[in-house]
Symmetry: C2
Subunit: 226 residues, 2 copies
DNA sequence: CGACTGGTTGACGAGGGTCAAGGACCGTGG
DNA sequence: CCACGGTCCTTGACCCTCGTCAACCAGTCG
């Protein structure tokens, strides 16, 4: 199940605010260990597309967005990661997506090489294979959403996904702004906002605030997600 | 590198034409072996969403589409698989996508359990992990296409992908009809047809026939894919 | 209190979907 | 050899969903 091995409890240095340079695992801190706890501030970059990959991250707290950018700035968020999730796997040694902290985030970074080395149990490779296959499945589901669902269906599916993953039936808290939801769903933030209003007007959800949503009629919401 | 082990050379029975019932690996044929060669006719189903999973398939010849359906018939193709590709992995024992032969297809089916059992080398698990991570990366790239690219960019990206994967610089042969391309790109077949015409009118491609495309200006095509 | 970030709402237009007609290209059979 | 049917493809006309642009509102932090 992958639990951190020898963990150095680093003095948790205060992180600079975005968009300044994010902290990376440094030679000195990872000298004797394969797992390093790290903190990231709101909107700071955990790793960037094109950067050398070498670590796998497991979230302790906070939410992370993983995304790809086009040269002109259009962005697609491929996943949100919640506490317990892992991200940062790469086939080769280059990241082909970037990862950013949506709010303050605590992660544990594992050195990729150590995980696949002979010393590590093969059960870990199975674990990793499992997580990767699950990620692939979720991404395929998301393809269907982006390729074939309309705006209302997309938002409904998003809310259902969040309710399921956070385990919060009512009074769901959304960690991310409308802009991130839009870039996850392949929409604009205005359209996301309009669809929230539509679900609200239909009596399916209640907006306590922009980030705090109560699902009033789960069956109807599920019906809308098609 | 995963090559078939003891292969029984089955009498290659003539396949029924679609949409009749496709052949599945049967008990009698897999009794002593973990790999079975199979043939599928045009448009026949290799496996369906919701069906029990138990085999991994490697394509010998032909092209396979992997897709998901919404209840009302909207379809998203998540990938096309060419000879040498493998597909059919599942985390649990149920297929969450379906796979169909686009034309006549020859595959080798491997029993999933045998591949992960103690007898199989751990290098195979690494191989599988690699293929899955590559699939995940390609799917993430496709998310960006579906979520953020316009119709012309999508078709350009598709043609570039096909040129790269088939290794055919000029005179690319497309195995699939417009409808499948559309369902892969999240468009309608009419829009796909119009974008083909647009690329043709711009002098970037030449349409020998609907399925036979010559790329006249690869740099310009790459520029259009954004 | 003011500045900033984030969210909502409206007016308008464009990109791509829908509907429809017709053309091209097969393989089959008379 | 040609006619026929089926599948696939193209093109046009129209329309709808969602993106764009803009103004305004709400909450928060100094």
């Amino acid at each position: 199940m992958l639990t951190p091995l020898p963990v150095m409890d680093l003095p948790q240095t205060q992180m600079p605010l975005a968009p300044s340079v994010p902290p990376k695992p440094r030679e000195e801190t990872e000298f004797h260990t394969s797992s390093v706890p790290l903190n990231f501030a709101r909107n700071s970059e955990i790793f960037a597309e094109g950067e050398a990959a070498g670590y796998v991250y497991k979230i302790v707290s906070g939410v992370v967005r993983v995304s790809k950018l086009l040269p002109d700035g259009r962005r697609q968020i491929s996943a949100f990661h919640l506490p317990g999730d892992m991200f940062g796997f790469e086939v080769d040694d280059v990241h082909h997506v970037s990862a950013e902290a949506i709010g303050p985030v605590k992660v544990i970074a594992y050195k990729w090489q150590n995980l696949l080395s002979a010393t590590s149990s093969s059960s870990f490779v199975h674990e990793l294979l499992n997580r990767t296959m699950i990620g692939l499945r979720q991404t395929q589901d998301h393809l269907l959403l982006l390729g074939r669902k309309n705006a209302l269906e997309r938002l409904a599916a998003f809310l259902i996904e969040m309710v399921r993953r956070t385990g919060s039936e009512q009074s769901l808290h959304l960690a991310m702004p409308r802009h991130d939801i839009a870039d996850y769903l392949g929409l604009t933030l205005e359209t996301v906002s309009r669809m929230f209003a539509e679900l609200k007007d239909a009596g399916i959800i209640k907006l306590e605030s922009a980030r705090q949503v109560s699902v009033l009629d789960m069956p109807k919401l599920e019906a809308m997600a098609t």
